[in-house]
């Protein structure tokens, strides 16, 4: 699935000329993908790029700059087609949530109320920070129709963050 996530980053970038390096791809992933998926490890990005390349879903431009040759990747027509097919096939994939705070909250009885409260406070802060980051992304997108779907995804993420804040409050009230 991660390969499709990377393909989607490449397709979103595809109006630019040069394509992206693996490193840049990682940066894009850190910037947006992490909010609704995960930012893959460097190692995985390059692995996937090799795989995509072997399927001819991406093309590679070797660029010799001095002693170093860097590769820039661009999505191909075949890649675009593959992505479309993938989008079309109905899926029953359900979101996966790994929630360390919930995991620990489950054992709240082993912690004591104060520690639970402290944990919630810390999470609340981290959450607010993330929310600000996502909000910054959202504002960058504005209301341009070209990025309307990205904006919808960002809004979705904000809804999620707000729900988390609500859940924190409710939990705190119930202690």
């Amino acid at each position: 699935m991660t390969s499709y996530a990377l393909l989607s980053l490449l397709v979103i970038d595809s109006d630019s000329e040069d394509g992206l390096t693996g490193y840049e791809l990682k940066q894009r992933a850190d910037f947006t993908l992490r909010f609704y998926w995960v930012s893959p490890a460097m190692s995985q990005i390059y692995t996937e790029l090799d795989r995509l390349s072997s399927h001819a879903y991406v093309s590679t431009d070797e660029e010799a700059a001095g002693k170093r040759t860097t590769r820039r990747f661009r999505i191909t027509t075949a890649g675009r087609e593959a992505l479309k097919t993938w989008l079309r096939e109905p899926t029953d994939d359900f979101p996966v949530l790994k929630h360390p705070v919930a995991l620990r909250l489950m054992l709240g009885a082993m912690m004591g109320t104060d520690e639970v409260r402290a944990m919630l406070d810390r999470y609340e802060e981290a959450l607010a920070e993330r929310r600000r980051e996502l909000e910054a992304v959202r504002e960058m997108l504005g209301d341009r129709t070209s990025v309307a779907y990205a904006a919808r995804v960002a809004d979705w993420g904000l809804t999620f963050f707000d729900a988390e804040a609500t859940a924190i409050d409710r939990t705190r009230d119930s202690l």
Copy 2:
């Protein structure tokens, strides 16, 4: 981290006499853990149990029933201590969300409005189904103080599901 998730299942069960088999552990995980973490693969459960056993965090009872010997695992005092230490150490772990619907929504422009709508409808249904399942768990827990924290986690999950439903509606309205 998964080993702590399993330990937590064992500690929750620890008022019962016999301990759990790997198989039963998998069932418990499928029943509740999956709502806020993931239900680990069978293979991983047994791997973790071996590891926990090597740390003496769990004890093993071999039980010969006919031709077959099954192992029942119980958390030890050392395991309980390890779990407490883990709970105490403040963590900056943030929830990880892998959201296939958001991933696809990002490429809504490649799908067309009808297909996006169809995707949202399917997700809405799947979501309602999960919500019912979690609600059943929540009702089982009731308001017994012994499971108050589990109930809080279940409530947290319900909040999340409701937020997802909200996000679906908002997205649909924006199309």
